[in-house]
């Protein structure tokens, strides 16, 4: 009797373990994002995907962008990264070149080249004869402007050129009795960590005729701002800060300032629309193309999604990605989070008919050019170090009406850019 009881108990225990093994046989996919505001979107997509595929469990983690990039720097080379990773192409490039990221399977490669995405995207995701990753969303910059403040000053709309930027921001700035700025006429990115300061400066550098690095016919690069364009772009900041005092370091900046109505205008990406809906729904504002100068243009910064090397179920991971890229979720992304979806073959007009501020992200003037991060591994270092020099310069009142000083700052920064290119064997020798 005792032996029978023991036998039955053993079989029961075995069944429980086997059952657990079957349950634990579910596929688990992990996804890492560098944009915490994307969490609601991913959660919705994961929930819908799991309804269709109950055997797949999707775990999503989102980090602040800089921390996300630095986390990847350790986890990708050690194959301890998540199965699916969302990251900009310039940040991923070094891993692609080092062979840590597998190329796209044929169906994803075909999807990328099917006409759903721009040639710009295809070029940026191509390395050698393969493509790596597929775009999920993109950053394009426009001018956000406060309609109430502009109407108070009798201004017709956002500035369309640099003269209007200077004129309007002087009219829109406000001061207290001691002369302290209480509302900036324009909110510039003049401090902060990472490379953002250099990126935002680029939006003024490009219309002036320059760029951060320019590609030469031999496929190598050199600093593209050690010229009149670079000096004019720096001079604009210095003049706005000190000559006209329409912005300064003491006042709040960026989206927070715009939501608190502490600034009349600033340049940023489409996610601000979702941010304003959430935090400042009563602020009357609109968007407009970036002001022109000698030319006009806006950045196109792709954020792509990849399946990583240690992923045990790449077919399922790519299936999840294809699910995310369906038109209904691209539209949902645009409407709820605000990042501009990367697919060009979807009609987003229902979204900007509901939310008109999105219109200027998609209806770009014909003469507007797109520029973006060069797909080279050292671009982040170039931009970060340039950002640090620019922050120094923006604190230097001595650069007002000082063309030699401005030229010196620009030249020294360009020398550093060129030395980084040289170190990476990418510098175009004259």
């Amino acid at each position: 009797m005792r032996k029978i009881t023991l036998g039955v108990a053993s079989v029961l225990v075995l069944c429980i373990f086997l059952g657990s093994a079957v349950a634990f046989g579910n596929t688990k996919l992990s996804l890492w994002s560098g944009y915490p505001e994307m969490m609601p979107f991913y959660e919705k997509v994961a929930e819908d995907y799991q309804k269709l595929h109950p055997e797949v469990e999707v775990e999503i983690l989102a980090y602040n962008l800089r921390d996300h990039e630095q986390k990847l720097s350790v986890t990708i080379p050690t194959d301890t990264v998540a199965d699916v990773v969302e990251i900009s192409d310039y940040a991923m490039r070094k891993f692609v070149e080092a062979g840590f990221i597998p190329p796209n399977p044929p169906d994803i490669d075909a999807m990328l080249k099917s006409g759903s995405y721009s040639q710009f995207a295809i070029d940026h995701l191509t390395y050698g004869s393969n493509t790596y990753g597929i775009p999920l969303f993109r950053g394009r910059q426009v001018m956000f402007w406060n309609k109430t403040m502009f109407a108070e000053e009798g201004l017709p709309g956002a500035p369309t050129n640099w003269d209007e930027v200077i004129d309007y921001s002087q009219k829109l700035a406000r001061y207290d009795e001691q002369g302290n700025l209480t509302r900036s006429g324009i909110s510039l990115r003049i401090s902060g960590g990472g490379s953002g300061v250099a990126e935002k400066w680029w939006f003024w550098l490009y219309p002036a005729g320059g760029t951060i690095i320019e590609k030469c016919p031999d496929g190598k690069y050199r600093a593209g701002y050690d010229n009149e364009a670079g000096q004019e772009a720096l001079k604009l900041y210095i003049d706005l800060l000190y000559k006209y005092h329409v912005d300064d370091h003491e006042i709040k900046h960026d989206s927070e300032a715009f939501a608190l109505e502490l600034t009349a205008m600033f340049t940023r990406e489409s996610w601000v629309v979702g941010y304003m809906q959430q935090y400042a729904p009563d602020v009357e504002y609109d968007t407009a193309p970036l002001p022109r100068y000698k030319r006009a243009g806006t950045i196109e910064n792709l954020v792509n999604i990849h399946v990583t090397r240690p992923c045990k179920d790449p077919e399922i991971a790519w299936d999840l990605i294809k699910f995310i890229l369906q038109p209904e979720y691209q539209t949902y992304l645009f409407e709820t989070v605000g990042w501009l979806p990367a697919r060009d073959d979807i009609d987003y007009s229902p979204v900007y008919e509901k939310i008109p501020q999105y219109r200027n992200f998609l209806e770009i003037p014909e003469d507007f050019e797109f520029f973006g991060y060069e797909p080279i591994a050292c671009f982040d270092e170039i931009q970060t170090k340039l950002a640090e020099r620019l922050v120094d310069a923006f604190l230097d009142q001595g650069l007002v009406d000082n063309p030699e000083g401005i030229a010196r700052v620009i030249h020294e920064a360009a020398e550093e850019t060129n030395s980084i290119l040289r170190e990476n064997e990418l510098y175009h020798e004259e």
Partner: protein
């Protein structure tokens, strides 16, 4: 013979008992330090591409790197200020709390001063970031009551480093105060009675009785404070790396430079060379402090 055998087995027992700890120490401290030293002689990328031996190349490059020099200057200045003020203030607090008249209230004050020590650095740094906020910060509010216009404490180079020094001193004085208190309580009262009989008063008692007897404690605090100050990173990273902060050059410190070179630019060999220099500086300062403070009179 029996006694010798017992002693040998006793020592063997001790060594075996210590072995796991020593092993952990070797694996997690000694080997990584040795490997960092090795990597400092290589051009070494995290990605494992193009890694090669370059001898002292990283070290020569470091001393031509303006960012490294800035980090060295900033960190040294930060360490001098933090060590000086934290030691002086914590010693003064300990002496005050050791007074007989403070006996009843001493535990409350000890708790109040020790609370910042046990609070994690990240929330403390976020809290101080708001205190220093140019528009809504408490500091600018209180200064405005005195007619002083608002300052961007974490943006201007002549303010940002000192703002972080103030916050760092505030956070650590409780810890050193407790150590000094223990030291003060361990000084026999007979010395003070003898000094009284000899006519010594106030400052003389402190200079000729308290300070010499407290020397080992002061040495310990100085060494620990120096090591901690040179390793400053978290508060700089949290307080100054936002949209409205002072990045890079302005409050660039050693460990931040190492972190950026290693994990942003992937130059592990270069970052390792920096880490070795940091180790050598702290080691040199520690030896110096032992030489100066460790002498027996």
């Amino acid at each position: 013979m029996n006694k010798k055998r017992r002693l040998n087995s006793f020592y063997l027992f001790c060594y075996i008992g210590l072995l796991p700890t020593i092993l952990l120490y070797v694996i997690f401290r000694i080997i990584p330090i040795a490997d960092t030293f090795r990597l400092s002689f290589y051009s070494w990328s995290i990605l494992g591409v193009g890694n090669k031996f370059i001898g002292l190349g990283n070290y020569f490059k470091l001393f031509q790197d303006k960012l490294f020099i800035t980090a060295l200057v900033n960190t040294t200045l930060f360490a001098i200020l933090v060590v000086f003020f934290s030691v002086v203030i914590s010693l003064a607090l300990a002496i005050m709390l050791n007074n007989k008249r403070m006996e009843r209230f001493s535990p409350i004050y000890e708790l109040v001063y020790f609370l910042p020590v046990v609070t994690p650095m990240v929330p403390v740094a976020v809290m101080w970031k708001w205190i220093y906020d140019p528009q809504y910060g408490l500091l600018n509010y209180f200064l405005s009551l005195l007619g002083i216009s608002p300052r961007a404490w974490l943006v201007y180079p002549n303010l940002a480093l000192y703002a972080i020094v103030i916050m760092s001193v505030w956070k650590i004085i409780g810890y050193y105060m407790m150590i000094f208190l223990v030291g003060l309580k361990n000084i026999s009262k007979e010395y003070y009675e003898a000094a009284l009989i000899d006519g010594a008063v106030g400052g003389q008692v402190f200079r000729y009785i308290t300070l010499p007897l407290l020397r080992p404690i002061v040495l310990y605090v100085l060494v620990v404070a120096t090591i901690q100050a040179f390793n400053v990173f978290t508060q700089v990273y949290v307080m100054t790396s936002d949209i409205q902060g002072a990045p890079g050059r302005l409050v660039r410190v050693f460990v931040y430079d190492i972190y950026e070179n290693g994990f942003r630019y992937f130059k592990m060999g270069y970052a390792s060379a920096e880490a070795v220099i940091l180790l050598l500086i702290v080691l040199a300062l520690t030896i110096f402090e032992f030489r100066v403070m460790g002498k027996e009179d």
